[in-house]
């Protein structure tokens, strides 16, 4: 079993901070299919539609029959470890810092006994060959999929294995900023992070004269510090970044403004502006203030800067006219988060986008169920950090939209236009 993670000792202030490096980043167009599935936590390989052969590595044509009908298909990952070795040397700057590094050869199970063999990174609890393992596709610090062999069954402290942690953004012993603690969702996120072992949780509070009883309850958590933060005010964001920016390992941006209504429901832009000011410009201000220090600290020991979570909405994918201006602000935020992903990704900091369906709050009062409880979304956020994925779609509504969006975004748009969703 992996040694349980200990709280890291305090940073030695006279030792130079290690700069972030990335494992090999470049992938061909076909290999990106593996990464695309891994961003949502799935392990998919191409399977030949003509002969059924499972392909690895990803390719253009079947390695058995040359068919070009290769479909990305979820895999169980069950396989046999047939050889292992330990690397003690690498010219790659990322792996040089992490030697020794254990890898192995795994033959995937397949009906025709022609499962491909895969060179995989090994979780520390994977024994010597031969043994049974589970393969999974994980995102490494470059944001690309790599294949990890895990022990067949869960082992104690599994998440604490150092080689495995290179693919996770676990909040355990990390310092987290939750940008808005005044909403039920923000408060649920704080509680979920505390339960996951976060070391320190800064909780943003805008307009402190407007009371939030739930926020006061958070003061009972010893690891919580409530701080002034108004994402609509660059001064406020800059001031907090100056105070704590060099310590924040994870940002969870829960700040959002949600009002119902589309274009014709109002005759001015005031509400839409405020939605944009929080949902889009708020993210921009936070990125400008906190992004730089997080990039610098992306290899800063065990509790490095590691992830940035954005609370978006499933309405970011396609406009839901009854909440039309809100949808537009979330679509803008989605686009900006992709920019943030590129910029932070260059240092190995992961940007996680969360696309919940309607949340059971006062602004969705008139929407019929199913609506998501705040704690469900909070759990999904913490799970995404632990799994190290990029995109999560919590709840049935989000899943249904996503499926339709993937099948045909135009059909989803048409269905929404007809009120059929």
């Amino acid at each position: 079993m992996a040694n349980p993670l200990n709280r890291p000792s305090r940073k030695n202030p006279i030792v130079k901070t290690r700069l972030p490096t990335l494992p090999p980043t470049t992938r061909g167009r076909f290999a990106l299919g593996l990464t695309a599935a891994a961003t949502e936590g799935r392990f998919e390989l191409q399977v030949c539609a003509d002969c059924g052969a499972v392909q690895y590595p990803p390719r253009e044509a079947c390695n058995q029959c040359l068919s070009v009908e290769l479909k990305w298909t979820p895999q169980s990952g069950a396989g046999e470890l047939i050889a292992t070795t330990v690397l003690h040397h690498s010219n790659d700057l990322f792996y040089r810092d992490r030697m020794p590094w254990r890898i192995g050869m795994v033959r995937l199970d397949a009906a025709n006994d022609k499962g491909p063999s895969v060179v995989a990174h090994l979780h520390g609890d994977v024994g010597e060959a031969p043994s049974r393992v589970r393969l999974t596709a994980r995102l490494d610090r470059s944001g690309q999929a790599v294949i990890y062999a895990l022990p067949e069954k869960e082992t104690p402290n599994m998440a604490d294995d150092p080689q495995y942690r290179e693919t996770t953004c676990d909040p355990k012993f990390r310092k987290v900023l939750v940008t808005d603690g005044k909403t039920a969702l923000g408060q649920a996120v704080v509680k979920a992070l505390a339960a996951a072992g976060a070391d320190l949780i800064w909780v943003g509070q805008a307009e402190p004269w407007k009371m939030s009883p739930g926020l006061d309850k958070l003061r009972e958590f010893p690891q919580v510090a409530i701080v002034p933060l108004d994402v609509t005010d660059a001064d406020s964001v800059n001031k907090l970044a100056a105070e704590i920016g060099g310590k924040v390992d994870i940002v969870v941006n829960t700040a959002e403004l949600h009002r119902s209504g589309g274009i014709g429901d109002r005759d001015n832009t005031d509400t839409a502006r405020r939605e944009m000011d929080v949902n889009y410009f708020g993210l921009l201000r936070l990125g400008q203030s906190f992004g730089g220090a997080m990039k610098f600290r992306a290899a800063d020991g065990q509790s490095s800067a590691v992830a940035w979570v954005n609370l978006l909405s499933i309405y970011a994918l396609s406009n839901f006219a009854p909440h039309g201006t809100y949808s537009a602000s979330k679509a803008a935020a989605l686009s900006l988060s992709q920019c943030l992903r590129t910029e932070l990704g260059a240092a190995g900091v992961r940007v996680i986008n969360v696309f919940p369906g309607p949340i059971d709050d006062e602004w969705n009062q008139l929407l019929p169920p199913p609506k998501l409880g705040a704690s469900v979304v909070a759990s999904a956020i913490v799970k995404a950090l632990k799994d190290g994925v990029e995109d999560v779609y919590p709840g049935d509504v989000a899943q249904e939209w996503l499926t339709k969006y993937r099948e045909n975004p135009k059909v989803l748009e048409l269905e929404l236009r007809g009120g059929g969703m």
């Binding site: 307009e207 402190p208 004269w209 407007k210 009371m211 002034p228 108004d230 609509t232 005010d233 660059a234 001064d235 406020s236 009002r259 005031d270 509400t271 405020r274």
Partner: protein, 264 residues
């Protein structure tokens, strides 16, 4: 220069007439008025540099700013309230320039407001004040001094300044009879406060709701809010300069408001 203005100029330069700034600094964290979230919201003050001797403009510094008309220390015109909507010259751009200056009476309710944040200034209270200090002259500003501005200036405590609980805001202000007395019996130019509104925090529950807004603006009178340094004014005799920005059909405006005070 006329003899009168010449005397004023000499008094200003010689220090016999002092200028007291009654304005709070506009900053992003200055508390904005609170309305139910489903209603239209006043934008708080926001400020962003266009350039600051940098690559955006190497030799100069300047900002863009945004804010609602009723942000920070500000002026209320009669058009602000439904009761004053049809009056002539009721907006900040059309109000008579002659109204930019007027004498002030300062009603010191500091003690009462410290004891009771929901203190309501009554007509009786004003009459008792007049018995001591003389009748409030026609066309004067009536400034309700409560010490409330010190929550911000001395303690930087916006929470205490807003003083909200589950039943809303708790700040002092005038009651309906007091407002009617000032409007009908004294024909003042307007009413000024240190708090975020000319009405009490619980003014919504008076009859009519927000009587100071309702009757003052309904009679073509003005309001001044978020004033500070009222404790530096004499009880009577100060001259107020309150000229709002000339915003087209503006309902109010942030402004630099100050007083001329003759040294004894």
């Amino acid at each position: 220069m006329s003899a009168l203005l010449n005397t004023l100029a000499t008094a200003l330069s010689g220090g016999n007439v002092r200028i007291v700034d009654l304005t709070q600094t506009l900053s992003p964290d200055f508390p904005a008025i609170v309305l139910p979230p489903e209603m239209g919201q006043s934008q708080p003050f926001r400020q962003e540099a266009i350039s600051k001797y940098d690559d955006r403009g190497p030799g100069w510094y300047w900002n863009n700013f945004t804010l609602g008309e009723h942000t920070g220390t500000h002026f209320d015109a009669p058009i602000h309230w439904v009761s004053g909507r049809d009056l002539p010259n009721n907006a900040v751009d059309t109000m008579p320039a002659a109204h930019f200056m007027a004498p002030a009476c300062v009603l010191d309710c500091t003690k009462e407001s410290a004891e009771n944040p929901d203190f309501l200034l009554t007509a009786e209270w004003i009459k008792a004040w007049e018995a001591k200090h003389g009748q409030i002259p026609k066309g004067a500003w009536v400034l309700m001094r409560t010490g409330w501005s010190k929550h911000l200036t001395d303690r930087n405590d916006a929470v205490a300044y807003q003083n909200m609980d589950a039943t809303g805001q708790h700040t002092p202000g005038p009651d309906t009879e007091a407002v009617l007395f000032l409007v009908k019996e004294r024909d003042v130019i307007g009413f000024g406060t240190e708090t975020i509104g000319t009405d009490a925090g619980q003014g919504f529950h008076l009859k009519p709701p927000y009587p100071c807004h309702y009757y003052m603006h309904g009679a073509g009178k003005y309001g001044l809010q978020c004033l500070t340094n009222l404790d530096q004014l004499p009880t009577t005799g100060a001259m107020i300069v309150a000229a709002p920005l000339k915003l087209r059909q503006g309902s109010g405006s942030p402004l630099r408001v100050f007083a001329l005070v003759e040294e004894a």
